[in-house]
């Protein structure tokens, strides 16, 4: 990143308006460039100071004055009385509904937060060039590696035959717990498949979504959460998911195959 680009992004950066990739770009540049780091320090100082400037709270009595100024429900004799009451009731319902809705819209749902966490983990792994702790060409070196590092045994498979070779595995920390991250490759793209237990959850079909342009899919199978994220196309990810899911289904119907892996 050049200084000009960095300067243009510093304001949205201090305002938390950048996506993760740009945020990391800016942070990398700030580490390397004293000049831009100085401008950034200025911005932070300024922001902190402005936030400490007087926040003018409403003077006492203003609320009462506003209330007395509003069309009072009891004041008017005729039809305005019920209208006022209905409006007030509607206002309460609407406010409650909109508060609830805005929580959904802001993506603060548990699913939305997980999608963001999973995407962050994926981007971090690519940026930091830290895709795997254990490199592998088949599942036999990856699966044992997780022993003792996790309190569950992820289903580790190689899908080379379907052009999704298993490249390796690593530990991630998502949703407040250690999870298994399996890394698959498809041509030049990497796919992170995160797996962790989903106690008490029934199997579910896959739900596709995306975050910052990364397609994401998640589903529950045999008591495990599966989240797949990649920079391949949404269609590519869908193929990957169907390969993974049919692999798991084959294993379920062929006990011998599953036993061989352990």
């Amino acid at each position: 990143m050049k200084c000009d680009e960095s300067r243009a992004l510093l304001h949205p950066y201090v305002d938390d308006e950048l996506d993760l990739v740009k945020t990391l770009d800016v942070e990398t540049h700030l580490r390397d460039c004293n000049e831009c780091a100085g401008v950034h320090r200025n911005l932070v100082t300024l922001q902190t100071s402005v936030r400490a400037a007087p926040y003018y709270r409403a003077p006492a009595g203003l609320a009462a004055r506003i209330r007395s100024n509003l069309p009072a429900p009891a004041a008017a004799a005729s039809f305005r009385w019920p209208v006022g009451r209905i409006a007030a009731a509607a206002a309460v319902v609407l406010l409650a509904a909109t508060t609830w809705m805005s929580v959904l819209w802001l993506g603060n749902s548990p699913e939305g937060l997980l999608a963001s966490e999973v995407t962050s983990a994926h981007v971090r792994s690519l940026m930091a060039d830290h895709l795997w702790d254990v490199k592998s060409t088949d599942q036999h070196t990856v699966k044992p590696w997780f022993h003792g590092k996790l309190d569950f045994a992820p289903d580790v498979r190689d899908f080379s035959a379907s052009s999704f070779p298993l490249e390796g595995g690593r530990l991630e920390y998502i949703s407040g717990r250690p999870v298994a991250a399996l890394v698959y490759r498809h041509e030049k793209h990497y796919i992170n498949l995160f797996i962790w237990p989903a106690p008490g959850q029934a199997d579910s079909g896959e739900v596709a979504t995306n975050r910052q342009g990364y397609p994401i899919a998640h589903w529950v199978h045999a008591g495990m959460n599966y989240w797949a994220v990649s920079d391949i196309s949404a269609e590519g990810l869908r193929q990957f998911v169907s390969v993974v899911r049919s692999g798991a289904a084959t294993a379920a119907t062929q006990p011998g195959a599953a036993a061989m892996q352990n």
């Binding site: 200084c3 000009d4 300067r7 243009a8 304001h11 949205p12 305002d15 308006e17 000049e35 831009c36 100085g38 401008v39 320090r41 200025n42 911005l43 100082t45 300024l46 922001q47 100071s49 402005v50 936030r51 400490a52 400037a53 007087p54 926040y55 003018y56 709270r57 409403a58 003077p59 203003l62 609320a63 004055r65 506003i66 209330r67 100024n69 509003l70 069309p71 409006a87 509607a90 206002a91 609407l94 406010l95 509904a97 909109t98 508060t99 809705m101 805005s102």
Partner: protein
């Protein structure tokens, strides 16, 4: 009364007058009450701040508080200097004089002041500010940057930096 502090704070900063801010908030709540039928969901605080903001602008126009410089506000002329060379070369003290800062904020054109207040005091996102102030998101970003540049210029110590630059060039 929901969001009353936020409403008053915005009106107080935009008008720079205590009593007028009270009147404006009162009027805005009355407008909000009457216009509730037009509220189709969304963020209630933003909706209310939009009404307060518009009431402020009506007041500013009526009382001719918007001076000529602000009326001729031109986004093209006021474009943000985003290239490195155009940045204000100032070094800000860690602890800024709060009274000087308050004056510097009040001295900003109201178009800059509103985005700054909505961003720093209410913590609104660019998208929300764009909705409240009826602007494009890009304009919010450029006005915010511009507002900060002005504050930095007003509060910083440009001479120190210039001296440092001269010293650096002499050493070369």
């Amino acid at each position: 009364m929901p969001h009353l502090d936020a409403a008053y704070n915005l009106a107080r900063w935009l008008t720079r007058r205590e009593h007028d801010a009270e009147d404006i908030v009162q009027e805005a709540y009355l407008r909000a009450f009457n216009a509730f039928g037009n509220f189709h969901g969304g963020d209630a605080r933003c909706w209310l701040l939009t009404i307060v903001r518009n009431t402020c602008y009506t007041w500013l126009t009526r009382t001719r508080q918007r001076d000529a410089a602000v009326d001729s506000f031109d986004e093209a002329i006021h474009e943000v200097p985003t290239n490195a060379s155009a940045d204000p070369y100032v070094i800000l003290e860690q602890h800024l004089d709060q009274e000087a800062l308050r004056q510097a904020i009040e001295a900003l054109p109201v178009e800059f002041r509103e985005v700054l207040i909505l961003r720093e005091f209410e913590g609104l996102s660019y998208r929300q500010i764009a909705d409240v102030a009826n602007l494009a998101v890009g304009t919010v970003m450029s006005r915010l940057a511009r507002a900060r540049h002005r504050l930095a210029e007003a509060l910083g110590a440009p001479r120190e930096r210039v001296d440092a630059k001269e010293a650096a060039s002499e050493m070369r």
